[in-house]
Amino acid sequence: MSSTRSGRRRRTARALWLFPVPALALHLFLFAYPVVQAVQYALTDWDGYSAAYDNVGLRNFAELATDDDTFANAAGNNLKLTLTVVLAQTALALLLALWLVRTTRASTLLRAVFFLPTVLSSVSVAFVWRFVYDPDGGLLNSALRAVGLDSLQSVYLGDPDTAVFWLALTQVWFHAGQMMVVFIAGLQAIPKELYEAAELDGAGRLTRFRYVTWPLVAPATGIVVAYTTVQSFKAFDLVLGLAGNPPGPALDILSTRVYTTFSNNQFGYAAAQSLVFMVLIALLTWVQRRAIGRATR
């Protein structure tokens, strides 16, 4: 029992080392270790339940790269989805933020309205939009008929050429409000003096947006673009809810493809797919970070 200050401090420090143990144990054993194992599985042809399996080296990856039409199709759909959602959601969220950045009673209420879809579950959102898109009695086609634009009616998700676009629209409806909040925070951080100075110099509204708002809101734009990208790769629940399980080729994306492979008991192959999926997300995030870094410098 040393009662010196340093002795007590040492005891304190020792006890402190117990604090991260539960988190580390859970994280390393139930998350990090499986991620490492995914690499091992990816080099086998294991089906998930047989005792015997072979090490096939990089054959899974070779097959993925050269001879897997469903994976290539899912990757293509995913890319289309990501591009559409990133462009549309970033633009819409910024417009909403510019409109609602000043705090009035009306804008507070409207912000709450735009944010509301974000709290719903993807499956719920998918059910809402199944009815919107229903070709027979759905909301969009009924509305078009009501205003006499019958010729514009469509089968939406049933049309393989445009299905991804409609999926993107649902995604934007789901999360634009969340990204609006990020932009509002970014806009509020811009010093008012800059606008006043620009106005004194006779800058018009577009000029002010181009030379004050746009460059200064860039960090928020970066966050929105990066987050939206990752989100569109993870649109798993939304696709299953909209297209059913498993989804058809028109709406199959990478996350649903990995899941379907896994469901077909191709564990080794699914592990290889999930690693490629992971590397793709990491690459995209990195490319974006660099691009945004350059744009904001």
Binding site: L98, F127, F262
Partner: protein
């Protein structure tokens, strides 16, 4: 800025209508019959019926799914907040490399999408007898959201001056006591914000139940809803009743704790 706002008003009002109308259709539709829904989707229910809810609970099994979701969410949110705040306390207080190393290991999980680990995770949980169990879901939800929780709570705990803990420990308080009496009260807003993020993530999680749960009695709400869709493909009023049941708790909490909600979902999501 006012002029900008005025120009944007039509766009924004249109967007507002696009958000509200589908939701109104769903809430109204849950109290209608299918013909009533198709006849006038936007009209309030003329003769409201609770039949859809009754069938959703009886035939769709949404009652037990609701209970399972509540148990799993409460368990996972509590466990995550406890282990994450303990770990974040360590990272904020232990200076130099050790604190940052632990933080780095835990937060590295942010870069890994949940899908990357699912194949081996499933195998591991299956060997541990944790598939098709609510405890397994609590654990898998916990490790999935842990990196985000550590990241956000760690950021807040770093703002607490070390002198506060030292003063308490000079008075004979144990580190655990310093954690409980000083750190936790100071980061209460961060705990609320993180808790809400975890609540929404865990309540709405579909991926893990879909993989891990095989029996009807252990289904959570999103999974029961998905099965529901297979069964009642275009029985929209029934699907809508399911949506209302599954969304009610989240929406009620959102209305009550709006500010925390927006902060929680935005910081949590953008960091995670």
């Amino acid at each position: 800025m006012t002029r900008t706002a005025r120009t944007l008003r039509p766009v924004a009002l249109l967007a507002g209508a696009a958000v509200v109308l589908p939701l109104l259709v769903v809430v109204f539709g849950a109290f209608k019959t299918l013909p009533q829904l198709f006849d006038a989707p936007l009209a309030p229910p003329s003769s409201p019926t609770l039949d859809n809810y009754r069938r959703a609970v009886q035939e769709g099994g949404l009652g037990s799914a609701f209970a399972n979701s509540a148990v799993v969410t409460a368990g996972a949110v509590t466990l995550t907040l406890v282990v994450a705040s303990l770990a974040a306390f360590f990272c904020a207080r232990v200076p130099g490399r050790a604190g940052w190393a632990v933080f780095g290991v835990l937060v590295a999980g942010l870069a890994v999408p949940a899908q990357a680990a699912i194949v081996p995770q499933y195998v591991l949980f299956d060997r541990l007898g944790l598939t098709d169990s609510l405890l397994g879901l609590v654990l898998v939800d916990t490790v999935t959201t842990l990196p985000t929780a550590v990241f956000v709570l760690g950021g807040f705990l770093r703002t607490v001056p070390e002198e506060l803990y030292e003063a308490a420990e000079l008075d004979g308080a144990s580190p655990l006591r310093a954690f409980r009496s000083i750190a936790l009260p100071l980061i209460r807003p961060a705990l609320a914000t993180t808790g809400i993020f975890l609540f929404v993530m865990d309540w709405n999680d579909l991926l893990h139940p879909l993989l891990f749960i095989r029996s009807q009695e252990h289904r959570t709400l999103p999974l029961a809803l998905l099965d529901f869709q297979g069964e009642f493909l275009t029985q929209y009023p029934l699907l809508f009743a399911g949506v209302v049941i599954a969304s009610a708790p989240v929406v009620v909490v959102y209305v009550l704790l709006q500010r925390h909600f927006v902060a929680g979902l935005t910081t949590g999501a953008v960091r995670g």
